[in-house]
Symmetry: C2
Subunit: 417 residues, 2 copies
């Protein structure tokens, strides 16, 4: 069962999320937007004020009542770092508390460099770079969120395996990073990063049930269920890329056959292009990004091979998305990550049309399918949000423990719900 | 977001569930088992005592402390009716509050009789029969839960469609039943009924994330996520039977091709038997139950055709269950309904072996696959549990509103969490 502490943390997330989205805002507006009681909102706002994450910014007249105090996110009240580890690069961004990007760094990971010590060196260098860019006048770094592909144990900080690095098994990644990085570290995988990014700042905000479909080299689904991220019993939920689309179909590196990923991941799309038109100029062997870019340009130019490949990809994708719609009955399905961003509207149109042929009427009617509205790297943003959630999750204890001596306790008008 | 009222209702469910499972028990044991604070448990126990659903039954010595008061479910404090509407029959059972069956009735639904008015007549007759069997000395009926196949709108009580009755669309089933049945009515579908039955009384009790796979004529999955039933935004989650197992495979009545249901539903199993051995004596055309019974006997006797059909069915089923394991990362997958009960251990063994070949290592390791331990009709039991949940859901308001004049208010040691 969810404990009262889980609920309090979830509600603290919800109130801050709403303040970030609608600063400046009043406690009354927050209560209306979150469904929480005014008393609970007042308590949570008090905690966020104590933490310096939000500030009082004056008041507004209200119709026929007392003027309402306004609060806003205190953008310079702290900094958050998001780390996106991928097969070929490490992206790092530093954010203020309004989740604006203040600094960026990138390191290439060349083939063969993906040994744990080398990778940790790249991450540490990039984190050092963004902190240095932000300068000595910058806000205190509250934490560093790290997105690592594959299965991650959040409790122990161990990266169990990385899908495209054969020799990578049970790496104590958080401990290795902690030797170089002094800030609190929060590990999870890109599915979770994209899900929290959409939940806090994107198309899943305010939704109870949402699915964030990640289309890149690997493929998966971040699940938002009951208003929070669904992780499963061992934090490995969301492996939609390894659900069966074609029984006994294409072999997959996971050992199964016919997985969704083998059809709609970037290598699967390249394979389809190669089979359809072996000598195509669209095909850049060994360069997924260049090939998907070429397909996007080809569709725009009306190239029939490109149109066919994107249409067929949309159809495979739609069969897999219809499974998610029928099984989970979400309010929204968000297409995220670089393949979705690159193929864009033509892919979306094909998916919408084909999902309508595969899904049941009632869940279909309840679901929107959209492209991610997040303009920057959603994995970095989501990873930084892990750090923000981490800072908030421990906030309850901290506000109680470290209140300045002599400072008046904020009136607690209600116990946190 | 979940409101404080949702949480209070969920916690009330959790405490009563634990009392039913472990009567007699103390508030201290309940707090330990549910993870709630002792103060919250005391409040919820007070509400359940006020409602007459539980009673004080003495005390036990505790090690070195004050004796602890014990409470137990008050079995005769009310009665619940569960209705299982299926393609060919209506089963109705009347339960006491410990969910013991006190009376049963069954009506056959002959082909052509499944018009709404005829069906409602069958249900009303069977409900009347179980109430009459229980007699005039019986406890007050707190509610009637009804499981109706297909998509059900719980808010309006409309049955949107029934998968095997072509002419059945948007039937206001609850309103039609209310013309004959005076008790509070609670409608939902068999996927949800089997899920709540396992959550309250079966293999999902005490689990946070569980999947109840329903194997009958139709096929689906009841989802328990985050400790409660996941219904989705329009109460149509769980349609695993209509997720794609074989792209462009067997046509399905839902309009899609290659759905899980077309391979592992009873008609799909019969089709496989017919294709494998057209003249098989195991095959009883137009009788699913007789055919599945014959297959079970055939496996026990070592009949190679029966062994082959069950092995292949297990393999199809395993590919679909591996999808659920990879996507949702549950603690337990429960095989429920009559096909699972009839084929039993040989089916389970085949499924376990094949899921291990299809699923990813980390979620696989975290998942048990079991047969439902519920010995009676799980759909009737689950439907009666809808009625129990309905009675509890409205209990908060009622205890506040109808406390007997002059009766002392119970001390509320804490606000409900
Ligand atoms: Zn796979
Ligand atoms: Zn279907």
């Amino acid at each position: 069962m969810r404990t009262s502490r889980d609920i309090r943390t979830a509600n603290r997330y919800g109130v801050l999320r709403q303040i970030i989205a609608s600063s400046p805002t009043s406690r009354q507006e927050l209560a209306a937007a979150t469904g929480l009681s005014l008393a609970t909102v007042a308590t949570l706002v008090g905690e966020l004020l104590d933490l310096g994450m939000i500030t009082e910014v004056g008041f507004e007249e209200s119709a026929g009542g007392r003027p309402r105090d306004l609060v806003a996110v205190h953008a310079s009240g702290g900094a958050l770092v998001g780390v996106d580890i991928a097969e070929t690069y490490v992206h790092v961004e530093l954010f203020d508390l309004a989740l604006n990007v203040l600094a960026r760094a990138e390191e290439d990971v060349r083939p063969g460099e993906n040994r744990p010590e080398r990778l940790v060196g790249h991450v540490a260098a990039a984190v050092g770079s963004v902190v240095a860019q932000a300068g000595s006048g910058a806000a205190r770094v509250l934490g560093v969120g790290v997105s690592m592909p594959g299965q991650v144990d959040r409790g122990t900080g161990v990266s169990e395996y990385a899908p495209n690095w054969d020799h990578w098994h049970d790496v104590p990644l958080r401990d290795l990073l902690a030797e170089h990085i002094a800030y609190p570290l929060h590990l999870d995988n890109p599915l979770r990063a994209c899900a929290v990014a959409e939940l806090w700042f994107g198309a899943a905000r305010g939704r109870t049930d949402a699915v964030v479909v990640n289309l890149g080299t690997g493929v998966g689904a971040g699940l938002v269920l009951g208003g929070g991220v669904h992780r499963g019993v061992s934090n490995s939920a969301g492996e939609w890329g390894h659900t069966t689309l074609v029984l006994d179909g294409r072999p997959c590196h996971c050992g199964n056959h016919g997985c969704v990923e083998t059809y709609v991941g970037a290598p699967g799309i390249m394979r389809h292009l190669r089979e359809l038109s072996p000598g195509s100029a669209l095909l850049h062997p060994d360069d997924q990004t260049a090939t998907v870019n070429a397909l996007a340009r080809g569709v725009a130019a009306g190239d029939p091979v490109a149109v066919q490949v994107v249409r067929d990809t949309a159809r495979y994708l739609a069969a897999g998305i219809a499974d998610l719609v029928n099984l989970l009955n979400p309010e929204v399905v968000v297409l995220s990550s670089w393949v979705a961003a690159t193929l864009g509207e033509p892919l979306l149109a094909g998916v919408r049309e084909a999902v309508a042929r595969h899904a049941l009427r009632r869940p279909l009617t309840a679901t929107e399918i959209v492209l991610s509205p997040i303009p920057t790297d959603p994995v970095c943003l989501g990873a930084a949000t892990f750090a923000l959630e981490g800072a908030l999750g421990s906030a309850g204890q901290r506000t109680a423990a470290v209140r300045r001596p002599g400072a008046p306790a904020r009136s607690r008008t209600a116990p946190p719900e």
